[in-house]
Symmetry: C2
Subunit: 297 residues, 2 copies
Amino acid sequence: MELRNLITFIHVAELGSFTKAAEQLGYSQSTISFQIKQLEEELECLLFERINHTITLTERGHELISYAHQIRALTEEFKENLEEEKECSGHIHIVTPDSVCDDMIRRNYIDFHNRYPAISVKFTTADTAVMFDMLDHNEADVIITLDSHSYNKDYVIAKEKPLSMHFVANASSKFANKQKLSIRDIIKEPFILTEYGQGYRRVFDRELAKKSLEITPILEIGRTDMITALIAQSDMISFLPDFVTKDLVAAGCLCYLDVCDMEVEIWQQLIYHKNKWMSKALKTLLSYIIEKDFTEQ
Amino acid sequence: MELRNLITFIHVAELGSFTKAAEQLGYSQSTISFQIKQLEEELECLLFERINHTITLTERGHELISYAHQIRALTEEFKENLEEEKECSGHIHIVTPDSVCDDMIRRNYIDFHNRYPAISVKFTTADTAVMFDMLDHNEADVIITLDSHSYNKDYVIAKEKPLSMHFVANASSKFANKQKLSIRDIIKEPFILTEYGQGYRRVFDRELAKKSLEITPILEIGRTDMITALIAQSDMISFLPDFVTKDLVAAGCLCYLDVCDMEVEIWQQLIYHKNKWMSKALKTLLSYIIEKDFTEQ
DNA sequence: GTTTACCATCGATTTTTTCGATTATGGAGG
DNA sequence: CCTCCATAATCGAAAAAATCGATGGTAAAC
C-alpha cells in the first residue's frame, strides 16, 4: 500500500471519476485504473463498484478514505514542519580544554542562555586527542582545541586564531621586572603546568626538547584557575594562554615574564566533523562562539 | 515519500544499522542505502549522520521517526479492520413490486430488524423496467421481480421460484364454485388489475393477446391490498399471485376461479448486479429473504 | 444514428528498484 | 604492524514496476 496509490485513491473518490483524477494528477487514465486495481488486490477488497462506467465507493472504500486522509495529512504535516523555521532548540555537546570551558562559562554562558533558552548545552573537558576521538565517534558535536595548528579533510574548522602564550609569575616575583630573560634563567624554578594531554603543554614540552631542555613541574593540573590561584600566592611559574591570565595581570596579581627565546605557536581552533548535520541550534552556538571568543582581542 | 521507504527508515533507526535492517527486511544493504538516500533527497534533509561507518539519527530523523510510526500504525489499523469480522451494519436499498413490499414488511420486517438492528433498509416499489434501470445505475442494491423469467449476464439471480397466479373473486361470486371455467367466460366481467408496468400484468396481457383477447380493467392500481379489499366487497375479479391472496382465500373472503385455459408463467426473482460489492449486511439480507420468502410454500 | 464520455485491458516503453561486486574506512585481534 | 571483520557508499547490470497509448465495449447525450 504505497502513498502514491492512496493519493490517487483520494482524488478518484473525490472526483468520482478515473478520467478526471487522471487529468488532475497528470496520469493517463489507464494508470489510474491500474493503481486502484493494485490497491484493491493488495487489500483484497473492492473499493469502487463499477456499474455502467460509473464508479461508486463501497463501504470498504469509505473506510479507506478516512485513513487515507489521515495518512496524507501526516505526511504533509511533516513536510510543513521541515520547511517552517523552528524555534532554535536542541541538545549540543561541546568539548573543550578545561581553561576554555572555565573562561566561556564564566564570561558567556548566562548571556547565551538568556538569548537562546531552548538550547541545552553539554560542556565537557578533555585532552586534544580525546576530543578528536569524540568527533570521530560522533560523541561531540563541536570541539575547541588549543594545540598546534591542525588540518584534516574529515574536519571542518569553523574558525581559528593563534593564541598568545606567556610565562607568568606572581607580580612580586624576582623575575617580574627583568627584561630579556632566557628560558634557561627560569627553567630550574618551580613550575606548575597543565597535564601533558593538554595541547599547549605538549607543544611546550616539544619546544623545550628541541633545545634539549626539560621541565619537571612540581604540580600538574588541568584546572588553570587553580594554577593561577597558586601562582598568585607563591613564587611558582607557569606557562599559560593569554586569555587565562590577562585579567589577573591587569589586576596586578600576576605578571608576564619577558622570556625572549621561547616561541611556542598555539592555535585555538573551533572544529566539527565534516559529516555533522548542522542543526539550527548548532549553527547558532558556533556563531555565538565565533563572535564572542574569536573576534575580541 | 513512499511507505516502503518509511518502513525501511523505521527499521534502520531502530537497529542503528543499514546492514542489520537489510537482513531483517530481506533487502541487500545497497538497497537500504538507496532507500534512505531517496528519502533524504526528497525531504531535502539529512536523516542520519554517517561518521566512521556508524549512523546517528539527526534531529530531522528523530522528527520523522514519530511521523513514520504514526503512518505505519494507521495502515496497520486499517488492514486489521479489514480482516476482523464486523458488526453487521450498513444501508441497503431494496426495490420490489408493491405487492412484495407489502407482504415482506407485514410478515418479516419486525423480525429482521430485531435480528439485525444495525442494518438500515430502504424499501422502494417500482415497475420491473424501472427496477432494472435502478440496478444499472447502482441506485438499487437488490431487486425482486415478479415477471417472465429473465436472464442477463450482467445480473446475478440470487434465487428464483415460479409463482402461482390465480383469478380471484369474492367468495360469494357467481363463479365461485364453477369448475373448468374458460377465460372467455369471465373476460367481460369487471376486472381490477395492477398497472401495466407490473411484470405479471404485462405477461397476462401478452397471453391474452395470443388468444386475440383483451381486457379493459375498470381500475388499475399497484396496491394489491386495495385490490383484494375491493374484490372482497364487490363482484369484481382480479388476477393475482398466490402469496397476495392465499390468506384471504383461507379465511373465506376470496375464492380462486377454476380457469383452465389460461396458463401464465410468472417468476419471482431476487436479482442484483454482477458488479455489486457484497457487503456483509447485503449478504445477510439476501440470506434472510431467501430463507423467509423463497423456501416456504 | 452519430458522437461523446467512461472504464477495462493489453502490449510496449520508460522508470524505478534491487542486487552483487567493489571500494574505502576503522576497529579488533594476533 | 598486519590481517580480518564489519560498515556504508558507489556503480553498473538486471529485474521489477509503473506508465502510457491504443483499442474495445457500453451507455448517455445530442
